[in-house]
């Protein structure tokens, strides 16, 4: 038994991280750290598409290395440092949990530039970048409320971090514009990626009466379950229509290519500066998959909403926002919640019956 325990611990330490990429002289070396496998068809897949788009444009001056399946937390520090030591001058760390490790390595390697996705801590050689995914979720909420017959939405969440919570809130705010009494059932999978568990969660939600499935986990498992059960669903991160040709309504897709191209160009030109980038539909970091499996009027409404958000006419977190406790949330952005409030969101809006886990 002891042996098994030691072995299991060792196995967790030695994650299946694989080192790719060959070295060539005087090309700029750019590194990427991925949370999942590049073939996850979700979060990591989209980051890798972004990397490939960047290579396509700048491949003659840039070479890339990526480490996949790097688990979050202290263990990732080793992987980030490995990339820094290997001569990468710009390193993208693409998951929230890499925040502290990236910061630590950035302090150790002041001449290397770091870019951390979805975090909020920066340094003079460490930028942050993220997508305003909640914009897409707001549109999804509107579509979901229009399409739901039971009035119950099923939401598979990953971890109770602000990004996920703001996604749930944006969905509900969108849905409430159509049906003020709409309900949402939330199941926390406590993982970003476990197809079996994601499928189980989708089944549980459907069995409990939800007829629209949305997810904040990475695999197309939930989409496939919805398709099998004849329900509707939203894709996550990438186009998932293949797994539910009759089920996918749309998908909020992450499109990192433009950002990676811009930042690597800046590095090549010596103009790289530590920044905080947060782009949405307008900067095409967030892109909606075609609106499918819905009547024309819903499709029209979705497209109008998308256009309004893109033009800045519509703010998903438009004040007044009423929290779960019935109190109005302070409106720091004038007409809408400011970025800090969205990035640090830790409350549910009115209309959600459940509690944020651990709160």
């Amino acid at each position: 038994m002891k042996k098994i325990l030691i072995a299991a611990t060792a196995a967790m330490l030695v994650t299946g991280a694989g080192l790719f990429g060959a070295s060539a002289a005087d090309k700029l070396k750019v590194g990427f750290i991925y949370i999942g496998p590049v073939g996850d068809l979700g979060w990591t897949y989209q980051h890798d598409l972004g990397r490939l788009a960047m290579l396509k444009e700048l491949g003659d001056r840039v070479e890339t290395t990526f480490l996949e399946n790097v688990s979050e937390g202290p263990d990732s520090e080793r992987s980030i440092e490995q990339l820094a030591r290997a001569g990468n001058k710009l390193i993208f760390t693409t998951s929230f949990g890499y925040m502290e490790p990236t910061l630590k390595v950035a302090k150790k390697y002041p001449n290397v530039h770091f870019e951390h996705a979805t975090g909020y801590k920066r340094d003079k050689n460490m930028s942050t970048y993220s997508g305003r995914f909640y914009e897409g979720r707001y549109i999804q909420g509107i579509i979901a409320a229009k399409m739901s017959k039971s009035g119950v939405l099923g939401y598979i969440a990953s971890f109770p971090i602000p990004e996920v919570i703001s996604g749930i809130n944006a969905t509900m705010l969108g849905a409430q514009t159509i049906n003020p009494n709409i309900k949402v059932k939330i199941i926390w999978a406590n993982t970003w990626f476990d197809p079996g568990k994601e499928a189980d969660a989708a089944k549980a939600l459907i069995d409990q009466g939800a007829d629209i499935i949305m997810q904040h986990t990475d695999s197309p498992a939930a989409m496939q379950v919805a398709a099998e059960r004849g329900k509707l669903a939203f894709g996550q991160d990438s186009e998932m229509i293949k797994f539910g040709p009759k089920a996918q309504l749309t998908s909020t897709m992450n499109n990192w290519g433009p950002y990676y191209i811009e930042r690597v160009k800046a590095e090549l030109n010596g103009t790289w500066k530590s920044e905080d980038f947060w782009g949405g539909l307008k900067s095409k970091i967030v892109v909606m998959a075609p609106y499918t499996n819905m009547p024309d009027d819903v499709k029209k409404l979705a497209m109008e909403t998308e256009a309004a958000i893109t033009e800045g006419k519509l703010q998903p977190f438009k004040c007044p926002i009423v929290g779960q406790d019935g109190k109005e949330v302070e409106c720091k952005g004038g007409t809408h919640l400011d970025d800090g409030q969205v990035l640090g969101m830790n409350f549910y809006v009115k209309g959600i019956d459940e509690k944020i886990p651990g709160k």
Partner: protein, 305 residues
Amino acid sequence: MGLIEAIILAVLAASTPLLLAATGELVTERSGVLNLGVEGMMIVGAACGFGGAWLSGSVIIGALCGIVAGVLMSLIFALMTLGLAVNQVATGLALTILGIGLSGLIGSRFVGEKISLAPHLYIPGLTDIPLIGRILFGEDAFVYLSLALVAGVWFFLYKTRAGLILRAAGDNHASAHALGYSVLRIRMFAVMFGGACAGLAGAYLPLAYTPFFIPGMTAGRGWIALALVVFASWLPGRLVIGAYLFGAVTILQLHAQGWGVGIPSQLMSALPYLATVIVLVLISRARTGGSTAPAALGTVFVPDR
């Protein structure tokens, strides 16, 4: 379909890969070999199982590909630990790491492809019985196979002479050797059986659970299967209880969240593991003639010539 029925169906589906992999590992460990590479054999089984089914269009061929892949992986293990007498723990871990990488390589061309799920049994009349019909007569073939396999393993271990010899090799390889049995050959077959079961368990995931292949889709189920063998204190009957208990806690915690039970979801996600620990403690406290670990488990055997 009622909610209880739906939950039981989900539990059976979630438990089956665990039961399959754990059954194989139980036989391997009963022969005295500790193969920690279950996760690696499973994930290669998943990749090959999906590939076989996708290329041929047949679930059965997919399942066979998964089994063959698992056996081939286990043969690497057998060559190292039995042939070259390498440390079993280290080799098993290496096998898992190898399997994760290899499955990504094999599966890379299948990523994004989709197959249709394994058909479920349908017997007119019987399957239509309310409540129990679909549970008893409406599963996919793997569910029945896994139960038959456990029953077969129980019969083999306790009712046949070959099973007795296998257990002897696991409890005292020197004595078994002295009696003229080829310990290494017995162990090789046991390791191969473990590989076949793990491969099949891996193939179950893309064939009957989520009909696509994604690298890493076993998501630690191989490690749970290993824990289940200990949990079952190396007894096939307890293995069934353990696997279904584990599946039940996994599924019920998802439903409990949907119902809005006011327990933090992090705690509920930990419940299956917590349940394992509690049962392990209970078993070790109340051991009355129950089986313990095979005495020679994990030890290398080199026959003197």
